[in-house]
Symmetry: C2
Subunit: 152 residues, 2 copies
């Protein structure tokens, strides 16, 4: 199931124009990458969004983070950080305590177990498996530039 042009992947012989083709390719490839990543994370008992939140928390450690800070730094701003933290708390990878200085807010901290899990994944070079290995550094930069331009 290796090299495949996008036309073959979705069995659509042609596209209206290069814009439609690029769009479909973009959505498809993002899903493709996400699924590969998810498969790796599954071995560690967490999901990609959970991993991303853990990573943010490690960046703050030993300082706590609030839900607001997590949302700010997440890739998907509209997702529900609160419920992702629920799952991490259930796995005892993070702790939740109401912030003493502002009792509306919640201080979220990564636990020792959480840090160990991330370390274990680092050691296995999991985050490096982004799946863009087929590009040269130059091509990766080109890709970033094109994507930035889309959102301008």
């Amino acid at each position: 199931m290796h090299p495949m042009k996008i036309e073959d992947e979705i069995k659509q012989p042609f596209f209206k124009d290069s814009f439609q083709k690029a769009y479909i390719n973009l959505v498809f490839t993002a899903g493709w990458l996400g699924q590969r990543q998810a498969a790796v994370f599954r071995d560690y008992g967490i999901t990609l969004p959970q991993f991303n939140i853990l990573r943010i928390l490690r960046g703050q450690h030993p300082k706590p983070a609030t839900v607001n800070l997590l949302i700010e730094r997440m890739l998907d701003k509209t997702s529900n950080a609160s419920r992702i933290v629920d799952k991490l708390e259930a796995k005892q990878l993070v702790t939740r305590t109401t912030c003493p200085s502002n009792r509306r807010a919640v201080d979220i901290c990564i636990t020792e177990a959480g840090l160990q899990l991330l370390q274990q994944m680092d050691d296995a070079a999991v985050p490096q498996a982004t799946g863009l290995q087929n590009l040269t550094p130059d091509e990766a930069a080109q890709l970033s530039a094109l994507l930035d331009k889309i959102r301008d």
Copy 2:
């Protein structure tokens, strides 16, 4: 909330390398585009996956499609076509009848109302609103080539 480099979007001042940056940019941009599309579809009472299935069914019309065929042509192969068809059936945009020649399979057809909805969206140039307007045709082709290479 317009031009923003990816560093600003997720408030991460720098990336490990151009691969990590391109990866994060790719996932973020795909989500960004998806959200814009979803907002447009909402006006028509359907979601993006529902729209994609309707489009496939129109391509087959007046021949029916099976669930298997839908999965083959969908962008996300692992999603659950059966349940997306449920929603379309509830809105009477498609019909489901067991295939006479193979009673395991189900013949799915787009209804007149479904065709009219798509026509209405065509007229409003909804599918054209892919959001890649900022690229030149050349850049769109470049983007497609890079994405194909990622999956090689």
